[in-house]
């Protein structure tokens, strides 16, 4: 049996969680840190365009420094992190410096690159390859000049090779999230790449872990009933050689690991539970069982694996204009009616000034904005007007941002809460998922002695 935890579910998660988890669970073998959501790559691209040394999750250096004292005392925990983002080399360099400063010069970093296929994608597109969008079926030629990033989702193979070579930290760019958990399993248990049922177990363990506290009660339906949520534990699995595992969390932490929280996380971002697709296997979960064995311990078992698709999945992003959103608070009688009218006035003024927008939206927060059209709008005494536009014309979006403040004087009585100030236009990134034949992709593994 071996233990794998997750202590970063996304870039922006609790930066103190990784060292805390290592301290709370001294027998943890591996720690996975997941920094990359679908749109994170485009944010990293923006940062790199302003600073060539940027483009990775800088939070990771804080994590490395915080774990260093455990390493100096001989704690063997090994880390798999996709903190490299769009600039894994700069991330590795910063990591080397952080480890030297922290007195951990005996550590080995494995740098996994080759996932950045932007130039390949552009070349193929210009040669006439369709690279159709998996959601819309459109050819990539329509956006090729606006592409910002294109990265393949690596599977576990290069990560396993890195661990086999003795890496203490495996640093990657884009890799399929659950493969960061699968790789330590394959390395530890020496599972063959075609041992699909066991690989399926490693992947589903990764699926449960990859969003951190979402496995320990975070965003669960019964969140309000959970104990000590302020001290919510991050999850880890106890993985068995047969691919089944127990989901749990450190003793003394808050939140809960029960059949309900684990079932909910199994369903998170799920498509067909009979065919969960990843670069290492396609998993059938229809016979999967979830069983509470003790308090905060849930056994998950029963996976069928099949060979994975032949092609790599690529997630590309492209620039698609600008957007801005602004808010005003309305208090008093007829607050919702006043808010709607205020929003319409803003659009009316912009139209008169000669501006039009590809997309606009007016919402009354508090009156069911998360479920537009679904429920009878309540008669509120207070609401927040949220008004948004998007367009390719940046100047039009900037003009919109200036049109909200005037309502502070010219709007309804009870108009307040313009504290956020003038909204700033931000770039919109479109997401382009497509497939790339494996012959165009080559993972590269470099071992770096700190």
């Amino acid at each position: 049996m071996m233990r794998i935890g997750n202590a970063q579910g996304f870039w922006g998660d609790d930066v103190d969680a990784p060292a805390r988890l290592v301290g709370q669970q001294p027998d943890l073998d591996y720690l996975t840190l997941d920094y990359l959501a679908e749109v994170t790559m485009s944010i990293l691209a923006l940062q790199r365009s302003r600073d060539p040394e940027a483009g990775y999750a800088r939070d990771f250096m804080h994590v490395v420094k915080a774990i260093a004292p455990y390493w100096r005392e001989g704690h063997p925990v090994r880390i798999v992190a996709n903190a490299g983002g769009l600039n894994p080399r700069a991330c590795a360099q910063a990591c080397v410096e952080s480890l030297r400063e922290a007195g951990c010069a005996d550590k080995k970093i494995a740098l996994v690159t080759g996932d950045d296929v932007l130039e390949t994608i552009k070349t193929l597109a210009r040669q006439g390859d369709a690279l159709n969008n998996l959601d819309t079926g459109k050819p990539i030629a329509t956006v090729v000049d606006s592409l910002v990033t294109a990265n393949t989702y690596f599977g576990a193979a290069p990560l396993v090779e890195a661990l086999d070579a003795g890496a203490d930290i495996v640093l990657t760019g884009r890799v399929a999230d659950p493969c960061m958990t699968l790789a330590p399993c394959m390395h530890h248990f020496k599972w063959a790449h075609d041992d699909y049922d066991r690989i399926a177990g490693g992947l589903i363990a990764g699926h449960v872990l990859e969003c951190g506290t979402q496995a320990t009660g975070g965003i669960s339906t019964h969140w309000l009933e959970l104990p000590d949520v302020a001290n919510m534990g991050f999850p880890f699995v106890e993985m068995d050689a047969d691919g089944s595992f127990v989901v749990t969390k450190p003793a003394g932490t808050g939140g809960a690991v029960n059949a309900r929280t684990v079932k909910e996380q199994l369903l998170y971002e799920m498509h067909d539970p009979g065919n969960y697709v990843s670069p290492d296997a396609c998993v059938n979960l229809l016979k999967t069982t979830v069983e509470e064995v003790e308090r905060d311990r849930v056994r998950v078992a029963g996976f069928k694996g099949r060979p994975p698709p032949a092609d790599y999945k690529v997630s590309a992003t492209y620039r698609d204009g600008y957007r801005a959103s602004g808010q005003l608070t309305l208090f008093g009688r007829d607050a919702v009616e006043k808010a709607w009218k205020s929003g319409e006035i803003i659009h009316d003024r912009l139209n008169r000034a000669g501006y039009s927008y590809k997309h606009t939206n007016i919402e009354c927060l508090g009156a069911g904005a998360c479920a537009p059209g679904m429920f009878v709008e309540p008669d509120l005494f207070e609401t927040v007007l949220r008004i948004s536009v998007a367009d390719h014309n940046k100047e039009a979006v900037e003009r919109f941002a200036k049109e909200i403040a005037p309502l502070a004087c010219g709007g309804a009585q009870g108009t307040t809460g313009y504290a956020g100030g003038r909204p700033r236009p931000t770039p919109v990134f479109g997401f382009w998922p497509c497939l790339l034949p494996a012959k165009h992709v080559q993972p590269i593994i470099e071992m770096i002695d700190v």
Binding site: E225, P227, R260, L286, C370, M374, P433
Partner: protein, 122 residues
């Protein structure tokens, strides 16, 4: 036969994928799963979410964990960084679907409700 909210017999989890989303509905009891298998069809869920602009809804049965998964294409009006909605990532969709009214008689409802009392620590 009276109407009750789905949330009395099931819990939920939603998440986004591009401009679409999914909502998993998990029955509290096997009796509740049977009720939902009959009543909570893809057509009913699609009709329920129509005001939000959903595309063709698919239902996946997942009996081993007492759940149904619904995929809701196009419900996020763009999703990601593009959607202008406050809930661009579909975080609230589980809570919305749990408000769906379902007709159920009192005897069956008793068998479908969560067996443990509300608000007890797990």
């Amino acid at each position: 036969m009276t109407e009750h909210r789905l949330g009395e017999i099931a819990h939920a989890r939603s998440g986004d994928k591009g401009s679409g989303a999914n909502v998993g509905i998990i029955a509290y009891t096997p009796e509740g799963y049977a009720v939902l298998k009959t009543y909570l069809t893809s057509a009913r869920v699609e009709a329920f979410f129509r005001p939000m602009g959903v595309g063709v809804v698919t239902r996946y049965e997942w009996e081993s964990i007492g759940a149904f998964n619904f995929t809701l294409p196009d419900i996020l009006a763009g999703g990601g960084s593009r959607s202008l909605r406050i809930d661009a990532q579909g975080k609230a969709l589980g809570q919305i679907l749990l408000e769906m009214p379902i007709p159920i008689d009192e005897a069956t409802l008793t068998q479908c409700r969560r067996p443990d009392p509300l608000r007890s620590p797990s």
